[in-house]
Amino acid sequence: MGSTFEMQVDAVAAYLSKGLGAPVAVFKLRQTFPGASRETWLVDAEVAGRPEGFVVRVDCPGGPGVPQSMRHEWEVYTRLWRSTIPVAEPLWYDEGIDFAQGRPHMIRRLVEGSTHIPGLTDDTDEGRRLRRAVVFEHVEKLAALHRMDWAAHGFGEFIPAPASPAQALRNEFDIWKTLWLEGRSEPFPMMTEVLYWLEENIPADTPFVSLVKGNNGVGEEIWKDGRIVAMSDWELASLGDGVLDIAFSQGTLALDDFGDAIRHYEECTGTEVSPHRLAFCMFWIMFKAVACLNIYMLGGYLGGANPRMTRPAFGLISVRASQRRLAACIGKDPVDAWRAIAGHQASTYARFGGRK
């Protein structure tokens, strides 16, 4: 399928040759699916006769589906590469050049593994055991990330940090409320009501400030032999409350018993996750999704820079559906409200037959 913005094998080969300072032959080039906030292209190549793989991560035409820049994601990768958190090796970043129509992009090495976990959705005892193991592995990687000393790795140099753990979710709320008010496509009085309801319920029991991944889960991370070997797609990385990642696992932590997943996270981090904090984060992620889909996904379409219908489909239909769910919760205790609607989130991974 061709389009103006499709990556071309010859252009990618020439660009990688220049960047690596060696002749590169590209054998296979394909865009990963799903993943609509940025484009991710997998490259099977030969460099000076040796097989190697690369990933081209590039902003969509019309901009990404998130507020953070590609440069932000690049900075996250370069610091994590020097940490114990598994990520692919970042090679270089550029923007405003001939390649990819000038779109901001980064090149990283391809990590051996897959976003696909065979048998994960099988309705067998083995499938159930696999799902539990996958959930626990994912929880352990998130816990390690949340316990990482982000200041020592330089994340405070480019990400605004909350003044204290108690301020973590307040800080998050203020940042995103401003983004929403400045960028929404039309007046949303119901979302204003939702924001006041959320503001009344901001928890202050965050035990420590963490590097938060943002969108995460099966379908995002790279798996090999039952382990996550690379955590990928850091476009929403921020400094804040790690429970936001629990709420943004896109169904992954609910593949097995969700309560067990939370208890395992508590054991790994040595801290308690209060039901109020968990429920708030669940609703907060719903709001953040509405903000991203309306401001950035629909915005790119309305501006004319990205004609792909994925954008209005998300920015119009998904936003209205989420707004309706949130509206039904206004005035309720968040824990009660979440119990009433929990389970509506199907795993994105399972919905597409388990293959990215």
């Binding site: 399928m1 949303f188 009085p189 204003t192 209005p312 239909i317 209205r320 559906a321 994105t348 597409f352």
Partner: protein, 163 residues
């Protein structure tokens, strides 16, 4: 007989869903673009019929709400002024309202209501608890009714994956 817009949109969707999509691998962008189109067609199939009546009814109820709020928010003069300014712009009587005109009116009235929602919350102490509960209750009731009315245009579409 000329087929209706709704009938044609439903026909296009049926063709894409039954004759095109099955031939495509599910986990590809090509299939995803078709699914996005199907979701939007499901929305349009209802919207072409319902949008005009929805906007007409919603604008009337919004006007009525803003009128009552203008009177009840005397303690918040800026908010009352925003309501008054939004209500001052009318539509010429007798004109057949186009969708664009109804949408423009709806956006203007909703923009004023959005401002009022914030003003009501921020001015809770000034209003007093009883007045706040009364005014806020009426706003929320309208927003829920309006949301339910509007969601008729999105209900079928939300059953489709946008990806």
């Amino acid at each position: 007989m000329t087929p209706s817009s709704r009938n044609l949109i439903a026909g296009i969707a049926r063709t894409l869903e039954q004759d095109v999509l099955p031939d495509l691998a599910m986990s590809t962008w090509t299939a995803s673009y078709i699914r996005s189109c199907l979701a939007l067609l499901a929305h349009l199939e209802v919207r072409v019929v319902e949008e005009g009546p929805f906007l007409f009814e919603d604008n009337a109820e919004l006007r009525s709400l803003l009128l009552s709020l203008r009177a009840d928010l005397a303690a918040l003069p800026d908010a009352a002024a925003v309501a008054a300014a939004a209500l001052a712009v009318g539509r010429a009587a007798g004109d057949y309202p186009s969708i664009d005109a109804l949408t423009e009116e709806n956006t203007r009235l909703k923009s004023a209501l959005e401002y009022l929602v914030a003003a009501i919350h921020d001015g809770r102490d000034t209003l007093g608890e009883a007045r706040f509960q009364d005014v806020h209750g009426r706003v929320l009731a309208y927003l829920r009714r309006s949301g339910d009315r509007e969601f008729v245009m999105f209900e079928k579409a939300s059953g489709y994956s946008p990806l």
